[in-house]
């Protein structure tokens, strides 16, 4: 299955999870796993998402999430999952 990891880091405020989830829903993307925590007052979230339904629109999704990040004042990375596997699993 083709998956990606979305990470969100920034100052906490209402609407971050909602914003990310809505953007993903707009692209018909299923969220497979979420891990979220507040460190100090910094919001951090990692999401594992399914890219099966994306049909080659990776760049569009990434642009939309980047735009959302700018609006919310947080940093959003969207990276395919293999990079994390490559580095951390033998």
């Amino acid at each position: 299955m083709s998956k990606a990891v979305v990470t969100v880091v920034g100052k906490d405020k209402p609407g971050i999870i909602a914003g990310v989830a809505n953007t993903l829903a707009d692209h018909n993307i299923n969220i497979l796993d979420v891990s979220q925590t507040i460190m100090g007052d910094i919001f951090t979230m990692s999401m594992l998402i399914n890219l099966e339904e994306l049909e080659g629109q990776f760049n569009v999704l990434q642009d939309d999430l980047n735009k959302l990040g700018t609006n919310l004042g947080v940093t959003i990375h969207t990276q395919r999952e293999e990079i994390f596997d490559a580095m951390s699993r033998v």
Binding site: T7, T37, Q79, R80, I83, M87
Partner: protein, 447 residues
Amino acid sequence: METKQIQETINMVEEEHLDIRTVTMGISLLDTVAGDPQQTAKNIYIKVTTYAKDLIKVAEQIEREYGIPITNKRISVTPIALIAGHATPDDMLYYAHALDDAAKAVGVDFIGGYSALVQKGFANGDLALIKSLPRALTETDLVMSSVNIGSTKAGINLDAIKLMGETVKGISEKSDTANAKLVIFANAVEDNPFMAGAFHGVSEADVVINVGVSGPGVVKRALEKVKGESIQVVAETVKKTAFKITRVGQMVGALAAERLGVEFGIVDLSLAPTPARGDSVAEVLEEIGLEQVGTHGTTAALMLLNDAVKKGGVMASQRVGGLSGAFIPVSEDAGMIDAAKAGTLTLSKLEAMTAVCSVGLDMIAIPGDTSATTISAMIADEAAIGVQNNKTTAVRILPTLGTKVGDMVDYGGLLGTAPVMPVVEKSSADFINRGGHIPAPIHSFKN
């Protein structure tokens, strides 16, 4: 998947400058040879632009999808002297311009392979290429050149060394920066993705993708966490970190090769610095426990680092090659620049360091009035280290007209800035002017 691992990966890229230093497409030009140099040059342009037309697009898409910057996209080709056997030095410029035009057309950062292999002797094309270098390197922008003047099997071509000293000098009279595009090798490797020494060896497949990884910042950060612990812990930490870095290179290289529909060649396991602070091999050595790079102990620390990088990386990739190890260019490394300015790092220490590292005297500025025979003698010393010790060594030295010790010379971009370093002023001319061939060492007779 653990959040901690995800965060670690992101930090390595964002804060510690982990990058894929280069994705280099190697292209064989052996099938471009035509009777006439102009026709061959046309064939070269067509082959390079055909195979590399999607290189940038594919590399940029991989950068996006995986969030890993690929700093340079490059092309290496068959050593031009091999395919230009009956060219004159003037003819050679057709080849240089064809390479430059092709590189610009596909948008790569550099094209390497304007090269000759003369460890045992000169053929007509070799001499023509070397004689064309001052014009070729100043009339083109992206063409990189290398000349191999020695090998463990063949010994050292002292005539070639004399000629290269004069060539370096000749280039410096035409340009302050063009010598950064020329490297003089002993034991050059055929699958090296790093410039200026990259070329596509004759034993390679038609078109391959080679990858060079880098991440001195990541290694330094890992070592910061084991301050005060014993030296085995340092070696172990470097090994583990090099493994992670190399896995990324393996992944990116395999992906790029697959998407471009060509073979995947090698991962060059390397620590290569950039002029940015926090991306310095010198800082890694200092983190191991040296007050400043160049002081006593530097060679030992570098040996440990280089070895640990290879040990960690070798398991992480399916095929290892290139130069593999730590690079110690002066102008491209903030810590090296500082140490050279302070006088802690001298040419003789750098030479000693090259006995245990990847390349050699790299990106070192020397006074403009240094004689050609002194430059040749520096090349001879480096070649001797490489040939006797069965390793690759190289010289990329930058005499700049009108400069004296302590002046700063700016080469721009990734090539950085270097202080002009003092050379020993006693002459080596009688040695170099003897000419001829230094015999291969006794251990070359291994079969």
